[in-house]
Symmetry: C2
Amino acid sequence: MSQATGLLKPALNAIAEDIDHSFDLLLPLPGDPRNRLVEAMRYATMGGGKRIRPLLVTATAAMFGVSREAAVRVGTAIEAIHVYSLIHDDLPCMDNDGTRHGKPTVHVAFDDAAAVLAGDALHDFAFELLSDPATSGDPFVRIELIRTLAMASGMNGMCGGQMMDIVAETESFDLPTVTRLQQLKTGALLAASVEMGAILGHVPIEGRTHLRGYARDIGLAFQIADDLLDLEGDEETAGKALRKDEAQGKQTFLSLLGPDRAREQARRLVEQAVDLLQSYGPEADLLRELARFIVERNH
Amino acid sequence: MSQATGLLKPALNAIAEDIDHSFDLLLPLPGDPRNRLVEAMRYATMGGGKRIRPLLVTATAAMFGVSREAAVRVGTAIEAIHVYSLIHDDLPCMDNDGTRHGKPTVHVAFDDAAAVLAGDALHDFAFELLSDPATSGDPFVRIELIRTLAMASGMNGMCGGQMMDIVAETESFDLPTVTRLQQLKTGALLAASVEMGAILGHVPIEGRTHLRGYARDIGLAFQIADDLLDLEGDEETAGKALRKDEAQGKQTFLSLLGPDRAREQARRLVEQAVDLLQSYGPEADLLRELARFIVERNH
């Protein structure tokens, strides 16, 4: 295994810039009464967020010689889904969060109706972008990208996980159920990011097994790290309210395992994820660094 | 022009049954904590609604020899988008409606969070369904279906129209702006229904001009009829609260034209729509009847 260092920071900076630029370009103000909708979409999508999902797409796509432009478009679509889910999740009737990425959430900066609609419109925007021939000239690739994203986002993916998360407030879940919850709520979209990078690279489904395993493992590690940050992190660095799970008495990896075993489990998952990349050379170094960053980050 | 009679009623009954059956089959309860999400999706999609959009798909698709099974699947996807938009539109932060199709709205029967998530999951469900090879074996057809639906639903379609509708509560719109609002808010999805029926039938884009014109005209006629029903209709027959536009002082076709000119305009649009079908024979009779039904319906 190569000892990659220093690839991640410039990659995170570059993807943040590219994704901001992409949303700026693809979401022009229409200059009519829809302006308020597009303003809310721009407010939510630009200038914040770690852009982990787009980075997973571009890092994976680059391993298979895909143009950065195509990978950034696909990353923009996945980020649109991620951002729409945050907008809806922050609503007063959901998590009722007032701050996100260090600024007021969409329903605070605009209003609840604008937040519902901006989320819905970003949801469509993702599929509009993926169905565009400019994303890939190959309709088989486009359809597979769309199918992968739709399945990762809906009732058998992210939305299903969010409902489980709501049920977790009143029912006591065991470790396998919490694992399933997290695999759906955040793992599915992270896994889709890696998979869609590989789809862009024309990697056949049987060639994606290890990459999917990598994504599954870092997805769980990511969630455990999030739980630990929620317990031990700093609200200002996080840019959002913390320690809500504990206040709600919700079962998490942390409450079920305790901080020491949780931290150990996250480390083990990251090593396992890195091991799954052993058939790749230095072209997978960025994915390796990213896996380690997930448990070492402070926000 | 042929004098079709009696095709519509059995067609409406058949599509209502087929769409209910389709949602029943495609939305099985998962038997885990996601049950509540899928229960809300089933509650919202089954046993209500006129199913105008699926009927537009099946009626158009049948003109070009498409199997009913494929047309019903596409109709189910469009209806999922329509239903998700109703669920979100009925939320307290949007129109705050407590009754829909004569029963409590989703946020009343479940809660606001379940309504947001059920809408989001139905939104994905539509694209999942369209991307499935079972919908069409031809990836070019699937990708064109997806692109047409995404563009009709998002910021340049339904969501954009909904934001204009919110702005209309506080700004005074003129007739061209109200027309644009309605073309986006309801017209885009009705037009997409006809267009997607033609796409299933492999009708090339230049062969769809008259069908799109038909859909555009009946879309506006549909909205004028809705405005008239809102003014003159019976709440019990409608299954929802009426006379809200007037109470909000919102500009509509009706407020701008008055009831007599509005009714005349709706009739003219329907005749224009029927004229656009003149190159078709009896195979277009159902679309002709449907156009007339739109201005004559009482709910």
